[in-house]
C-alpha cells in the first residue's frame, strides 16, 4: 500500500518505460527513490539504489527500498561486473568528479546504462551566455554558478563524443523541453534534458 505518488519526472518516466520488466537495476543518485519504487511496483524489477544524501537515503529505506548511502565516484567499484541488467545515472553525470570514469563503471556493472543530464547547449543557456554574458540560470539549470553541484556541464554533442571515445553504443535517446518529449532533430539546440540508453 503506497501513498499516491506525484508523476515521475519526464526523464525518469522515459527510463521507467524502457526498462525490461523483471530486470535487476541499480539507480545511482536515486534521490527519494521515485524511479525505484515505480520500477519495483509497475515492472517487478529488483531495484537497488545509491544516494549521497543521508536524508534522502533514510526516506528510501523507510519506504522499503534497498538504498546504500554512497558516492558514485568511490563506491561503484565494489559491485561485480554485469551485476545489473541496467545501471541508471539520472541527472548526476554533470556532478561527478570524473564523468568519463563513471561512464566506464556504469557500463561495467550494468549490461546497459541509462544516463540523463541537462543539456548545456540548449538555446536558453546559449542565449544567457551569449547575450547576457553571464553563467546561465535557467529553468533547467536553476542554481547560480557558485553553489551549483554541476561541476562538469555537458551538451548532447559532447556526450555523444564521450560515448564514441569510450567505445560504447547509443541504443536509444530521448529529448525533453518544457517537461515534454521532443524529436531528435536539432536536439543540441532544442533539448533541455537528454536521456541516453547505452551498451558496450
Amino acid at each position: 500500500m503506497s501513498a499516491p505518488q506525484s508523476p515521475l519526472r519526464p526523464d525518469l518516466a522515459a527510463i521507467a518505460a524502457h526498462v525490461a520488466p523483471g530486470s535487476r537495476v541499480l539507480d545511482i543518485g536515486c534521490g527519494d527513490g521515485a524511479l525505484m519504487a515505480e520500477l519495483e511496483s509497475a515492472s517487478g524489477c529488483d531495484a537497488r539504489g545509491m544516494e549521497l544524501d543521508g536524508a534522502l537515503v533514510e526516506r528510501c529505506v523507510s519506504r522499503g527500498l534497498s538504498v546504500v548511502q554512497g558516492d558514485a565516484n568511490l563506491d561503484l567499484v565494489n559491485y561485480p561486473d554485469k551485476a545489473f541488467d541496467y545501471a541508471i545515472l539520472s541527472q548526476t553525470l554533470q556532478t561527478a568528479t570524473r564523468p568519463d570514469l563513471i561512464l566506464d563503471e556504469l557500463l561495467r556493472v550494468g549490461r546497459r546504462a541509462f544516463v540523463s543530464f541537462p543539456n548545456f547547449a540548449h538555446w536558453r543557456t546559449r542565449a544567457a551566455l551569449m547575450l547576457g554574458g553571464r553563467m546561465p540560470v535557467t529553468r533547467a539549470l536553476p542554481v547560480s554558478w557558485y553553489e551549483t553541484q554541476n561541476i562538469h556541464h555537458v551538451t548532447v554533442e559532447d556526450f555523444r563524443d564521450l560515448v564514441r571515445i569510450k567505445g560504447a553504443r547509443i541504443e536509444r535517446a530521448w529529448f525533453f523541453s518544457n517537461e515534454k518529449q521532443i524529436g531528435a532533430p536539432a536536439a543540441n539546440w532544442r533539448a533541455e534534458f537528454a536521456v541516453f540508453e547505452l551498451s558496450r
Partner: protein, 363 residues
C-alpha cells in the same frame, strides 16, 4: 516488580567453536506480542555486551524500563501488535542463560571452567531457541552493537533463518583498538584481589571495584567527546573550587563512578570477561576463508546497515566494509549513516530518523 523470564533448556549438547560442548545449556528469554499460527511474524532482537532479555519490560534488578522500550511495543517501530518479538539473554551472560555463574554438573559454579565462547556460539544458542519455539525463519533479526554482530553472524552462518537483517552501530570484526579497550577492562577485573581467579561466587567480596573500572573505561567508548563536553564540560561536582585531592571533583568523574558502581549491581564480572573475549574473537571474514563477501554469498535476505557519524567505537568505515561485501555478494542491502551527537550509544537514544528506518525496514 519482578518479571521472571522464560527459560528454554536446549535438548542437546551445544557444540562450541572451541571444540568443547555445553551440556544442559539454558536460554532465558522474553517475548512480546503473539506468534502467528504459521510462525511468520517473529522478530529476534539481539542485545549488546551488557544488555539482557529485558527489551521492553522492566529490569528485575534495577526496575528501569526495558532497554529498547522506545523502539519495541504496540505501535512502535518494531510493532508488537504485528510482530512476535523475542529477546534472549546470550550464553556467557548472567541474567538466566548459561554462563560462568551457572552451576556446572558438579554442583559448583563454572566460574573460569566455563568454556570460552564466541559470537557464533551465542547465535548457536539463539538458533536452538528458535528451533524450540518452532520458528523456521525470522521475519527479521535486529541488533545494535554486539547485537548487530549476532545478526550478521546469523545471516552468515544460518542464512535461511532470517528474511531481514538489521545491523545498527556494529562491525564485522573487532579492531585492535576494540580489543585494546576490552583488555583494559579485563585486566581491571583480574587485578582486583576479590576476583580470586574467578572463584568469588561463595565469597562476600566480589570484584566490584575491578568490574566498575572496566565499565568506566568502556562507557567512555560509548560516548562522543562532544557529547561528554556538552553534558559535563569541566564543571565541578558539589563544590565551587578545586579541592586539590582525588575525590570525584569533576562531574564527569562522578558520573563515571556512578555508572561503574551501578553496573556491578546487575552484572557478573566473569560474564564480562567471557563476553568481551567473544567480541574480540569476532571476525566473520576469518570464519569464511578471509573474504567477507564469501560469508554472504547466495544470501536471499534483505539487509539494512546503520551507522552513526560520531560512533568512534564501530565507525562508519566498518559498516561500509560490510556494505561493500554485501554488494559484492549481490545481496539486497540498504545503508545509511545517521547523524547523532552521542557516539556509539546513539542507537539506544531518541532518534526519529533511526525510528523511521527501523520501522520502514522491519515492517
Amino acid at each position: 516488580m519482578s518479571y521472571p523470564s522464560l527459560v528454554y533448556r536446549i535438548p542437546h549438547p551445544l557444540p562450541l567453536d572451541s571444540g568443547q560442548v555445553l551440556e544442559n545449556c539454558e536460554i532465558a528469554y522474553e517475548t512480546y506480542g503473539t506468534l502467528a499460527p504459521d510462525a511468520s511474524n517473529a522478530v529476534l532482537v539481539c542485545h549488546a555486551l551488557t544488555g539482557d532479555q529485558y527489551l521492553a519490560s522492566p529490569h528485575p534488578i534495577t526496575g528501569k524500563p526495558g532497554w529498547w522500550e522506545r523502539m519495541v511495543g504496540p505501535g512502535k517501530p518494531i510493532d508488537t501488535n504485528r510482530h512476535y518479538v523475542i529477546c534472549a539473554n546470550v550464553i556467557g551472560s548472567c541474567m538466566g542463560s548459561s554462563g560462568p555463574a551457572s552451576l556446572a554438573p558438579d554442583g559448583q559454579p563454572y566460574a573460569m571452567r566455563f568454556p570460552v565462547i564466541t559470537i557464533r556460539d551465542m547465535v548457536r544458542g539463539l538458533v536452538a531457541l528458535l528451533d524450540g519455539l518452532g520458528i523456521a525463519q525470522l521475519h527479521a533479526v535486529v541488533g545494535g552493537s554486539m547485537g548487530g554482530m549476532q545478526a550478521l553472524s546469523l545471516a552468515a552462518n544460518w542464512p535461511e533463518r532470517a528474511a531481514r537483517v538489521l545491523v545498527i552501530a556494529a562491525t564485522a570484526r573487532h579492531s585492535a583498538q576494540n580489543i585494546a579497550f576490552h583488555e583494559v577492562g579485563r585486566q581491571a577485573i583480574m587485578a582486583d584481589p576479590a576476583w580470586a581467579q574467578g572463584n568469588y561466587y561463595d565469597s562476600d567480596a566480589k570484584p566490584d571495584n575491578g568490574l566498575a573500572v572496566a565499565r568506566m573505561a568502556a562507557h567512555i567508548t560509548y560516548l562522543s567527546e562532544a557529547g561528554l563536553t556538552e553534558k559535563f564540560g569541566r564543571r565541578l561536582q558539589d563544590r565551587d573550587a578545586k579541592g586539590f585531592g582525588f575525590d570525584a571533583e569533576f562531574q564527569v568523574e562522578s558520573y563515571l563512578r556512578y555508572q561503574g558502581t551501578g553496573f556491578t549491581r546487575r552484572f557478573d564480572a566473569n560474564s564480562y570477561l567471557y563476553i568481551t573475549r567473544a567480541m574480540d574473537y569476532f571476525d566473520i571474514a576469518e570464519e569464511h576463508g578471509g573474504k567477507l563477501a564469501n560469508a554472504f554469498a547466495g544470501t536471499q535476505a534483505r539487509f539494512c546497515i546503520v551507522s552513526f557519524d560520531t560512533d568512534w567505537l564501530y565507525p562508519t568505515a566498518e559498516s561500509r566494509h560490510v556494505v561493500h561485501a554485501l554488494n559484492a555478494a549481490g545481496a539486497k542491502v540498504s545503508f545509511v549513516e545517521l547523524s547523532a551527537p552521542h557516539g556509539h550509544d546513539s542507537f539506544l537514544l531518541e532518534h526519529d530518523q533511526l525510528d523511521r528506518v527501523v520501522k520502514g525496514f522491519v515492517e
